[in-house]
Symmetry: C2
Amino acid sequence: MGDFNHILEIDENSQIKHFKKGEILQAEGQKNSSVYYVKKGLLRSYTIDNKGKEHIITFASEGWLISNVKLADLDITNKVFIDCIEHSEVIVFDKNHFDLSKLTNLQLEENTRLLERRIAVLERRVIMLMSASAKDRYNKFLKTHPELPNRVPQRMIASYLGITPQSLSTIKGEIARKS
Amino acid sequence: MGDFNHILEIDENSQIKHFKKGEILQAEGQKNSSVYYVKKGLLRSYTIDNKGKEHIITFASEGWLISNVKLADLDITNKVFIDCIEHSEVIVFDKNHFDLSKLTNLQLEENTRLLERRIAVLERRVIMLMSASAKDRYNKFLKTHPELPNRVPQRMIASYLGITPQSLSTIKGEIARKS
DNA sequence: CGAGCGCTTGATTGAGTTCAAAAATCGTGG
DNA sequence: CCACGATTTTTGAACTCAATCAAGCGCTCG
């Protein structure tokens, strides 16, 4: 994740916690949303659409931050869940830790870089979803996250790619048959 | 766009410019990317995929900022174009204006809020693309951008929604027939 | 050992694309 | 201001990719 040392300093507003596989760190609409830094393990954030389907927004493995975006000024509230795919060791930052007015200039700069990185990732994902076939998206996923297929159930990868588990299975079959 | 007065202060690094319809403000891979605030008119940012198809990332009408995200630390460079849909009056901020180390704390806070808003919008778009049909996406678009259909060619709306102009035309026909 | 969950595989269906051509609109120069 | 060419939009037919429906297999965990 780089060297965001200042923003990740552990202080009175943060603590190390352990979560078991399947544990929910943050449920929908939770008020005081935290920011989580994954020391070890694997988390995911996802929403549930109005048809009851899960859509994974991000995976966060070792060294990554995960959080819901706080939107004081916007009526849009993305109902986001965060839970645990593997047993994980996580630094939990109280929202106060990321309270802008309490941050130093250096911390704000680091935070900005984190946000910009996230924007770039999201933009690329939007473009992928609009332009690439399911197979292309899966191949791209394998390139950018080569280690995840071993750690994440297929159905979650499908959910991340925006396709059904059945389609992903078929795609995998086609790829395997070629080689 | 809210009240981002501090970050939008005009200084020696910014200037007001007029652009004609069709003019390109920023071409792919341009080094010193600027940030544009639309006083009047309409801009768009878009990419071109490897099949040569345009995909619109954002529309920016009066009161909105538009820019490419700068990613010093990431190998990913989204090749983004910005051009003019209507004759527009734009404040062009030199990249130095948004040079983090030169910003005050207050400006950094405002910048952070802008970035977070953008993330929320992008996340919702990702979820939309993964869960909603073309018709649903179009209806949602009409709700959130009721004025744009009068100002933007259909094919660009289609490009924004991730569908072909033909499909959008068909969808519009269906909607019209119902009422 | 059996129940349940996840993955695979195949048949069918449907939303959206592609290809093609006609109709409408826009823009520009005379 | 009109006319003509260019671009956009509409419409229709054929096709394609991925979703849905459905059945069967294999593994794990209780």
